[in-house]
């Protein structure tokens, strides 16, 4: 949810309209949650969940075991996933065109000493999709509640997420 809000803030900083809507149950750390982000050049009126996403950003390597993270996904879509495994080892749906992969848990352990992947994966999203610039996300972080060491760590995480993401274009790889 925090990541969704930062993404929306980054999009708005670049002149777009954005809406972020989280969806969760009883508040419990570590519970599966989902947040929906829309971006547009025009004002966004629908305050609804997204049932047919163009892009899925999955910031946990295990949540796919309990939730179908690809449900309703549009053909030609994009997945940005944290995983320590190679692309060929992942079970991916047909129709996926682009995959951004990064072992965000490992990097998070280096930066935060905890598996907090939110800002790392925002960097990965920016790199994979180009929907928002790294600079805009850094500005959104600087404007957020983070301060001091927490801000520095998250700025570092954004940058490493951006730089260390491997992008795979599935059409070309299949064709090759």
């Amino acid at each position: 949810m925090m990541a969704a809000g930062l993404l929306a803030a980054g999009l708005v900083a670049e002149g777009k309209y954005a809406v972020a809507i989280p969806s969760f149950g009883f508040e419990r750390r570590g519970a599966p949650v989902v947040a929906f982000v829309r971006a547009d050049e025009r004002e966004i009126r629908r305050m609804t969940n997204i049932t047919h996403p163009d892009c899925v950003l999955c910031i946990d390597p295990t949540v796919g075991r309990s939730v179908d993270i690809f449900a309703g996904m549009r053909s030609g879509g994009t997945l940005v996933q944290t995983s320590g495994r190679a692309l060929a080892e992942l079970t991916l749906p047909a129709g996926l065109r682009t995959v951004g992969l990064i072992d965000a848990v490992r990097i998070a352990m280096e930066i935060f000493r905890r598996p907090i992947t939110n800002t790392l994966m925002l960097g990965a999203l920016a790199r994979t999709t180009g929907i928002v610039s790294l600079a805009a996300l850094e500005q959104a972080l600087a404007d957020s509640e983070f301060r001091d060491a927490g801000l520095d760590q998250n700025i570092a995480a954004l940058g490493r997420g951006y730089r260390e993401t491997q992008i795979h274009h599935l059409d070309r790889e299949v064709a090759a």
Binding site: M1, A4, G5, A8, A9, V12, Y17, A18, V19, A20, I21, P22, S23, G25, F26, E27, I44, R45, R46, M47, T48, N49, T51, D143
Partner: protein
Amino acid sequence: MTMAVREAGTAAATRPRHIVCEGNEAAALAVAMVRPDMLSVYPITPQSSLVEHLAKLCADGRMDAEIVDAEGEHSVLSVLQGAALAGGRTFTATCGPGLAFMFEPYWRTPGLRLPIVMALVTRDGITPQSVWGGHQDAMTVREAGWIQIYCETVQEVLDTTIMAFRIAEHRDVMLPVNVCLDGNYLSYGAARVTLPDQAGVDAFMGERNINWHAALDPLRPMAVDPLTGGSGGKGPAAFLRYRKGQCRSMQNALRVITEVHDEYAARFGRAFAPLVERYRMDDAEMALVTLGSMTGAAKDAVDEARAAGRRVGIVKIKTFSPFPVEALAQALAGVGAIGVVDRSVGFRWNCGPVFQELLGVLYRLGRPVPTASFIGGLAGADLTVEHFHAVIARTAALLGGDVPDGPIWVNEND
């Protein structure tokens, strides 16, 4: 507590004018901008982050208000009643079970004519257990004498919360106001909003004069809330005078809400329909009636239906209490079918509460109009563009005389 208007310049003025925030934060920022004297709070989902934002604004020195963490909602509103009687500008927020626990002082607030503003972060009823949004809590208290205004967007939450204080404190109104924002979709929904400038809000609010009718003042002792009623002496007339005054002021509120919205639009450049919004109603042969954040998806669906040749429009209710009977009668004058979408249940009439209220408006129209009651979005369920396409199709069937004999449950097959 000081009654003087304080110097402008702190509070939200230091932030960028475009920000991204959730509805709960938008409400808190608006409260900071009207410079309240006293806040009293008890957190409850989905209102909790609103309280956290209020507390943070106070702790960071961006809002100079007393904030009382009361032991429960009954005390929350009782604390504010004392503060309002002493002339303070006051605010709180609650929902669902918290509102239920507040019920006795909730009743007392409009009777005492206290202009308290309370965000109602609407939540569906229990049981079965649910912590998600729905209008059932607000609908349950719609005859308790509060003004109830529903917001469609995060921006509207911010602007309406500012306006709510002007409406509540107007001499011809002097009634408490609920700013209703949908739990989940507006409370946690984050969107781009534009902040008004602090100096502009200060000028809009003007000189505060909240305790002109009653005051807790040791130098000027007076009794408030006298024993009235019964069947003898002056009791019955005294009670009736209170009730007639409340009813008269509710009617005055229809005018004042409109005036305040006009003034706000002129000053800040953002216009919201004060009572009822007509969306693409010119030449419409059928209308959807909506309330709250569902309206955005409804508008997108209507645009698509219009592009496909359907003459459909939306009549959105913003002010639900007092019920804008004449405005609705005018807005619906030309249509041949009406579909009302409720986010709560009317157990007694087997339809949605807004639908039930609308039946009275149809009587004013003086002609029978085929209608259907749609109930959806309960307990956090989504109301999507696709749902509204189904609502439009079913409402179109009314034109051919196919009128359902019970409510249509929008999310039944989700």
